[in-house]
């Protein structure tokens, strides 16, 4: 590709570096087992549930069906009637910082560490 200029290579190099640094940063954050599960439904205030209990949570609102399972310190979306089923296919999560998102139904689930202070600071 002799049509590329030097500026292109510099730009691509810095973008890849940027992606790499962000990736390492998030890898560094995701290591420990989580303690709390933060559940956000659309605009409502987040709900916090401990990850130690075995429970099934019905997050359905009207026609929007979502069923979340917490089992053996793992969290997964058992069922959803959303269009893309990405939340169900996401599978089990258990580590701090991991998340399940159901975008069509505006639901997000994040696993937090023991103190949720650092994550709140990030989302400010």
């Amino acid at each position: 590709m002799n049509m590329m200029k030097q500026g292109d290579y510099i730009l691509i190099f810095f973008l890849l570096l940027f992606a790499g640094v962000l990736f390492l940063h998030s890898m560094y954050n995701i290591q420990e087992k989580g303690a709390m599960v933060e559940i956000r439904l659309a605009d409502e205030d987040p709900v916090y549930v401990s990850i130690d209990q075995n429970t099934t949570l019905d997050l359905s609102r009207g026609d929007l069906v979502n069923i979340l399972c917490i089992e053996d310190e793992k969290v997964y979306m058992l069922e959803s009637n959303c269009r893309d089923q990405l939340c169900v296919r996401r599978g089990e999560i258990s580590l701090e910082g991991e998340s399940i998102v159901c975008l069509p139904h505006r639901i997000s689930i994040v696993i937090l560490g023991t103190d949720k202070g650092d994550i709140d600071a990030l989302s400010q």
């Binding site: 590709m1 049509m3 590329m4 200029k5 500026g7 292109d8 730009l11 691509i12 973008l15 890849l16 940027f18 992606a19 790499g20 962000l22 990736f23 998030s26 954050n29 995701i30 956000r40 605009d43 269009r83 893309d84 990405l86 296919r89 910082g97 998340s99 998102v101 975008l103 069509p104 505006r106 997000s108 994040v110 994550i119 990030l122 989302s123």
Partner: protein, 172 residues
């Protein structure tokens, strides 16, 4: 009074909108990696970019708005419309600026990478607003940046070649 010039421009824009629509619709049938939702090749951006280079940002703006609006009739999802629109507008703004002021520094491929990067950055910001959390989109952002570089190079390469050949033909 519609002049011959206006009719020509209107016809040309309609053709570009059609091509962009077909490209974004066809793209859905390409296999995507299930582990990375939301990552696309952005083939429709080829059309936006070529219109921007050969005509004007106004024409490119029209093609973009028409494409995204019409495509939302096929998918019928408010959020995906918001994504495409914010990403497309941000990308067009960045590419217009880069083409005008940074044309000596970057080739068309570099400008396409800038556009793809800004597109994905805008989408990350919309995702953060929709989920009311910066944490989740941020953990996904590195993959978006990486994909922006790769798809930006691809579409930029196509645009550069297409532009070269169209120049040879001579504009109508």
């Amino acid at each position: 009074m519609p002049s011959a010039n206006n009719i020509q421009r209107f016809t040309r824009l309609s053709l570009f909108v059609t091509m962009a629509l077909v490209l974004s619709y066809m793209e859905r049938f390409l296999p995507i990696l299930p582990a990375f939702p939301g990552i696309k090749l952005g083939l429709a951006n080829i059309i936006t970019f070529i219109v921007l280079i050969m005509y004007s940002w106004k024409d490119a703006f029209f093609v973009l708005i028409a494409r995204v609006t019409l495509l939302s009739f096929f998918s019928a999802s408010g959020i995906s419309f918001l994504y495409s629109m914010s990403g497309g507008l941000m990308s067009l703004m960045a590419m217009t600026f880069a083409l005008k002021y940074l044309g000596n520094t970057f080739s068309l491929i570099g400008i396409s990478v800038i556009g793809a990067f800004m597109h994905n950055t805008a989408q990350m910001l919309v995702l953060a607003a929709v989920l009311r959390s910066f944490f989740i989109p941020l953990s996904y952002y590195p993959i978006l940046v990486l994909s922006a570089v790769l798809t930006g190079i691809l579409t930029g390469y196509i645009v550069a070649n297409l532009h070269r050949h169209l120049e040879k033909l001579g504009q109508s």
